[in-house]
């Protein structure tokens, strides 16, 4: 189980500068440099609003649910992977149940 505990230092990329280890996940880097840090207006006017508008596609990649408040107790229900899987399973169950009903009723008819 300890190999599931991804703590320092084993998972770090080599330091690019100095001795500090650099975490390497792209999602981690993007969520910090795009969403965090100090916002001050530069002379190039694209830097604030436009980033927020233009990187919508990137944001969709960084954020898997639409709103942070959906991180409540049931946000995992909105996980598209999970939802698709559950829906597929339900349909499969229904089809099988129907087939069993058919077999059982035809078996009953034979005996009768």
């Amino acid at each position: 189980m300890s190999n599931d505990v991804m703590t320092s230092p084993g998972r770090f990329a080599p330091a690019a500068y100095g001795d500090r280890p650099r975490p390497e996940g792209l999602a981690d880097v993007l969520e910090r440099v795009l969403d965090k840090g100090i916002i001050i207006a530069g002379d190039i006017r694209v830097n604030l609003l436009d980033i927020e508008l233009l990187t919508v596609k990137i944001r969709l990649l960084v954020v898997s649910v639409d709103k942070a408040e959906e991180m409540g107790i049931d946000w995992w229900r909105h996980d598209p992977m999970l939802t698709v899987r559950e829906r597929g399973l339900a349909e499969e169950n229904e089809a099988l149940q129907q087939r069993i009903d058919e077999l059982e009723s035809s078996g009953g008819a034979d005996r009768g």
């Binding site: 505990v5 320092s8 999602a27 530069g42 694209v46 980033i51 990187t55 995992w76």
Partner: protein, 253 residues
């Protein structure tokens, strides 16, 4: 002849610019310091064809370009944070010239100083809690179904196990968070990340940043290890230290 602007990475305090020692930023340009009332803005020259309004508009649509810029930005922030209190800027803060940078630093001196006061001597840790993947929670070792009803029963059990797993994982995530905030001075919850970007399996039920005093990382990670040992039903992924990006926001932001 390409026009150039000045890209601002971060604002530091008590930084001796000499210590940057030829650090290279975006487009392999030398990183310089712009001083203003005790603050030092870290800047380098960027081609405005790439970092001007039009260039950014085009480039930000490219994940490859964005990755290069984001990692280049982060590399400078990391290097500075190793030397002095450092407040990172958001990506793509670009000025016409050093005078523009200096003017803004003077204007924002007090709010930026308050951010530096808050983060000085601290670093950030990123902690995620993930459910075991559906495969882990699924029908491992189940005997093949010999009838339709048996098959249905197995599938139902798997589904229930998955749902219970997700509910339990969420409760576990709250316990992990509660334990970590006791050894952190501040925390900030972040939205879960998309597996298409991270490649993770399972469901990310918790993603948060913790501000930890420099030198107390071992204690923080010990709590992570304890929680991992106590909750094998989830994976706990702790990474860092990061410069305190998630805690470097101006008061009104």
């Amino acid at each position: 002849m390409a026009e150039h602007g000045r890209y601002l990475y971060a604002v530091c305090r008590d930084l001796d610019v000499e210590e940057l020692d030829g650090l290279l930023g975006l487009e392999d340009a030398i990183v310089d310091g712009v001083e203003a009332e005790g603050l030092v803005g870290l800047v380098s020259s960027v081609d405005l064809d790439e970092y001007g309004e039009e260039g950014l508009r085009r480039n930000l649509e490219s994940l490859d370009w964005l990755e290069t810029a984001a990692r280049g930005h982060d590399a400078v922030v990391q290097a500075a944070a190793a030397l002095a209190p450092t407040a990172p800027m958001r990506l793509a803060t670009v000025f016409r010239d050093d005078e523009g940078v200096r003017r803004r630093l003077v204007e924002q001196h007090d709010p930026i100083s308050r951010v530096l006061d808050r983060i000085e001597g601290h670093e950030e840790w990123s902690v995620k809690v993930l459910t075991r993947s559906a495969r882990d929670l699924g029908a491992d070792g189940a005997t093949p179904a010999t009838s339709g009803t048996e098959y249905l029963r197995q599938r139902k059990n798997e589904q229930e196990a998955r749902e219970a797993g997700a509910r339990d994982a969420h409760a576990t995530a709250e316990r992990v968070h509660d334990a970590l905030v006791r050894v952190a001075v501040a925390s900030r919850r972040l939205p879960p990340q998309d597996p298409r970007l991270t490649g993770h399996t399972g469901t990310m039920v918790h993603n948060a940043a913790y501000l930890v005093p420099r030198g107390e990382s071992d204690e923080f990670n010990a709590v992570v290890s304890d929680m991992s040992a106590a909750h094998s039903e989830v994976r706990i992924d702790a990474r860092g230290p990061w410069p305190p990006y998630s805690f470097a926001m101006l008061d009104d932001q």
